[in-house]
Symmetry: C2
Subunit: 304 residues, 2 copies
């Protein structure tokens, strides 16, 4: 089986919340290693305001670097954009895979973008159409899809309505993000089942945070519900170190280890991912959340 | 629903591997708090050689303390014993719930007890019969039931054979322990299904370690497979700090939080468990593995 698609987001969703800014040369080295690890897509950065997110200020330079290398094979690089300005910056430096999204929580949407969800959807759709016209791949995400740190419960009807709008507009690659870490397995199973019922052609990704220790069990529930596209971060990076209520991403090496123990993705090199995770621990000078980069893999291989 | 039985093992399986020995008065205070938390059973210590495990040297004193208090209601206290000598010590100080077991891994069994699995089974059955004659409750466990750090894969037939022997001898309370942390969800589901097929009267407990980040997903798989008796440790305590290859127990507060978010065990006070976990962090002066004692619970309650 190699039916699981892996989107490594640590270089963006991980590094953007770290107080220490990783130098560009080191980022390029880490991405270079990850490109050879066997994962399918690597989020290299975000085209956002460098004054607000200095950790991502060198995203243009990195994309130019990898575009100049001209890689005909291997995984692609994705970037996060929040608006058309970011998209134009991305297109100008050779990016061709854009992730963009809206929050299903009205409060989270307003805090994040200054717009309510409905207005944000229209803006994102316009940005997505422009990216598509330029020949780029577009992934639309629904943030706070499983709950919101401000509002608490987010009705599933809100999520389904947004997904339906994306699909109607021809965007079939959709990611559901558990921004607040509130998801629980039965909810994950139900929501993905309902989304697949909207249109079996949807390629649905999941993006879990480990705020309450549930990223792995939710990812497994998503896999069980037929989801085959996973977003995760090496070392379990992510989550603001200044608040107790943000948690890291699903940890790539821990998740891949589980996949390999159950017969999936034997082609991915955990050794490479573990090395990058260990380097990140040395760089940030603290223990990062994931475990398999410290324990190593179980030597006995597949068990079931 | 209140169908899930919770056995808190942090005071034994957690504290026994910490370099710092918790003073008896503090242990008594922590157990006192846990007695009021709503969990169903608390493992207070082990009757083992105090020279080999100084962290448990005061187990007799603690049982005497709580026996003298005479608690007609509330959760019971359990103790681990490895042999008849330990059992006699336990009976002498008022213990009446004994956990004992054998390893399904021949190598692990020899390293742990100096006996192979078959010999260890006979010794444990003799100890169990003696405990039962004395009117005590007995739980038999199978250690390394999902894999072994020395041997790797442990054939399920070995586990089933041991369980069958326990049941034949009238011991129906059985715990499967993932000592090495090797379990994966499909294996968990299959093994518990096969065990329930031996005898539907078996009360099967599960005991997962988080060595490879899979304790929660395995516990959820066990719940899904009909297991209703869970062993866990507050703060995710457990696992030797001197080796990378031992991991803590399933974290009680993280697991109870998931249970409550899915409508189970609303009677358990996470506030109390979180307080004990936070005290343990202060005592050991380091961040312990669990998360919910730091994040607190999601205020919005049940989501599914």
């Amino acid at each position: 089986m190699s039916d699981v698609f892996l989107h490594e987001v640590g270089m963006r969703d991980g590094l953007q919340v770290e107080a220490g800014v990783v130098p560009t040369a080191r980022k390029i080295a880490w991405i270079g290693r990850l490109l050879g690890s066997g994962v399918d897509l690597i989020q290299a950065g975000s085209f956002v305001n460098p004054k607000l997110v200095p950790q991502m200020a060198d995203t243009d330079e990195m994309f130019r670097h990898f575009a100049a290398m001209g890689r005909p094979r291997g995984p692609r690089l994705s970037a996060l954009v929040l608006n058309e300005r970011g998209l134009e910056r991305g297109l100008a430096c050779g990016a061709d895979y854009f992730c963009m999204g809206v929050s299903a929580s009205e409060t989270h949407s307003r805090k994040n973008t200054g717009m309510g969800t409905d207005e944000a959807i229209e803006r994102m759709l316009a940005t997505g159409r422009r990216a598509r016209e330029a020949g780029a791949t577009v992934q639309m995400s629904v943030q706070s899809a499983f709950g919101c740190g401000y509002e608490g419960r987010v009705p599933e009807t809100r999520v389904l309505k947004i997904v339906d709008r994306f699909v109607t507009e021809g965007f079939h690659a959709i990611s559901l993000a558990d921004t607040a870490g509130h998801a629980v397995p039965p909810q994950v199973a139900r929501l993905f089942r309902d989304i697949h019922a909207i249109d079996p052609g949807i390629v649905c990704a999941c993006h879990f945070h480990d705020t309450y220790g549930l990223a792995m069990v939710n990812a497994w529930a998503a896999l069980d519900a037929g989801v085959t596209y996973f977003e995760s971060a090496f070392a379990g990076l992510g989550g603001c170190p200044f608040t107790a209520l943000a948690g890291g991403n699903l940890c790539t090496e821990d998740f891949v280890h589980l996949l390999q123990r159950t017969g999936r993705r034997p082609d991915v090199s955990l050794e490479v991912i573990n090395e990058v995770a260990a380097e990140a621990e040395r760089f940030f000078r603290r223990a990062l959340p994931g475990v398999v980069h410290r324990t190593g893999v179980i030597p006995s291989g597949r068990t079931s």
